[in-house]
């Protein structure tokens, strides 16, 4: 899969840090090469021709030159800047979360075009939608499925029995999804999951976003969904996401 000396790619900027005098180290997500780390030279100077096109969460068309160590961006042109993400603090916070989650789940240089499409769609949804918690849950479920951690929401992972309405089942991050009331009893990391929460997760796992975005979800159910997904994701990554802390703080301060 050798890249040519000068190659073209689309990219979304996930992360960046200052480097040297006026350069930046960018972490990109691309359709052809997956996660890619590149250098953008001189982009911290005000008159840089590239800087505006290489902002965080911008979808751009790039020309990249192969470098000895890291590749170097030589040209950049915005395809979509997702402006509302830059003008609303809560949306900014969610975009950080979306990028960090993806960054944590993928290694460098592994192609996953569907994941690229998901991220692109996600940035668009974050610009428009009202219930961003719902959007985030949908994104988490899709992302987990695309990287091989699709939670099992229909069968008990111990006895394979189908989970049906009635007795409350358990969600166990270590098992990778549901346990029936009998198998889950006494399991250390298993927590009960309510039927409404389970139904929402099942619906989101099997339907398109256009349908899912119409769901209307109350506060306490949202809290349960968030807690369930957060526990699962934290278990897999073995760490907390830094953007979550910021988001929670924002939500707390805004509701005051």
């Amino acid at each position: 899969m050798g890249r040519e000396r000068l190659y073209r790619t689309e990219a979304i900027v996930l992360k960046r840090s200052d480097f040297g005098e006026a350069d930046r180290l960018l972490t990109l997500y691309t359709p052809e090469w997956g996660k890619l780390r590149v250098i953008a030279k001189g982009v911290r100077k005000p008159a840089s021709r590239k800087s505006g096109h290489l902002e965080l969460f911008t979808h751009s068309r790039l020309l990249v030159a192969k470098g000895r160590n890291l590749d170097i961006v030589t040209q950049a042109e915005t395809i979509h800047s997702f402006r509302p993400l830059r003008e609303d603090l809560l949306r900014t916070g969610w975009a950080y979360y979306a990028a960090e989650l993806l960054d944590r789940f993928v290694g460098e240089g592994v192609e996953n075009r569907l994941l690229f499409n998901l991220l692109l769609a996600m940035l668009g949804w974050l610009c428009e939608d009202v219930d961003l918690d719902l959007t985030a849950r949908f994104y988490e479920l899709r992302l987990l499925a695309l990287v091989g951690y699709r939670p099992q929401l229909f069968h008990c992972l111990a006895c394979r029995a189908e989970i049906e309405p009635g007795a409350t089942p358990f969600f166990s991050p270590a098992s990778g999804g549901l346990l029936c009331p009998r198998c889950g009893e006494g399991q250390r990391d298993a927590r009960e999951i309510s039927m409404p929460a389970l139904k929402v997760l099942r619906f989101m796992q099997t339907n398109r976003y256009e349908l899912c975005r119409r769901l209307r979800i109350g506060r306490s159910l949202h809290a349960e969904l968030e807690e369930t997904m957060r526990r699962y994701i934290t278990y897999i990554l073995e760490r907390n996401l830094k953007s979550v802390e910021f988001l929670q703080r924002l939500q707390r301060e805004m509701s005051e």
């Binding site: 590239k50 902002e55 965080l56 800047s81 916070g93 979360y97 990028a99 953007s243 910021f246």
Partner: protein, 199 residues
């Protein structure tokens, strides 16, 4: 047995901990100093010592200074009704170079960056709010960088300051002097259009 004298190795180690300096550059700098006149090397050592021993944060604006309050905060001639909020001490220098701004400053020491774990508590935000309540300020000029982190910081501050009823302004965003219209991104161009001026 080591091929290199202990003090040399130690200095190379210290240099390579600096940002942007790799092991090769570190050795080059070390051997340069080794051959340089003694005064030059000692002057560097003194400068380093003074950097740490003779500088403090200004207790009011958190700029780096030799004496607190800093010369700007002490200057009676400056306009005390306006505070310019910047990310870094170097930004104060940049704005001072314009000779256009006569007010006071407040240095945050960074910008909100959730992924790097820099949240509001890591910045001098609480100190800014206390200042705004205690001093006769009428306007807060948010001069954080025009990138996502700077914008997020500015939005966050604007929301916190709003209840105090002060005038909150943001440095204008648009095309850079010496720039090229055809290379401008749409966000910059949109803002330049919005902020157009009568000629």
């Amino acid at each position: 047995m080591r091929a290199i004298a202990e003090p040399v190795a130690k200095l190379i180690d210290e240099f390579s901990r600096l940002p942007g300096i790799g092991p090769k550059t570190a050795s080059r700098l070390t051997f340069y100093l080794l051959r340089a006149p003694k005064e030059q090397a000692l002057a560097l050592a003194d400068a380093l010592r003074e950097l740490k021993e003779r500088t403090i944060f200004c207790s009011i604006c958190f700029n780096i200074t030799e004496a607190s309050p800093c010369p700007i905060c002490r200057d009676e001639g400056r306009d005390r009704s306006i505070i310019c909020v910047v990310e870094e001490p170097l930004d104060v220098l940049a704005i001072e170079r314009t000779r256009e701004y006569k007010g006071l400053y407040h240095v945050l020491h960074g910008a909100i960056s959730p992924v790097e774990g820099i949240g509001p508590d890591e910045l001098k935000i609480r100190e800014l709010l206390e200042r705004l309540k205690a001093e006769p300020v009428e306007e807060v000029l948010l001069a954080t960088n025009p990138n996502l982190e700077g914008e997020a910081t500015a939005m966050y501050l604007a929301r916190l300051i709003a209840p105090l009823g002060l005038r909150v302004t943001r440095l204008a965003r648009g095309l850079p002097v010496g720039g090229d219209l055809e290379y401008a991104d749409e966000v910059t161009l949109t803002r330049a259009l919005e902020g157009r001026r009568e000629m």
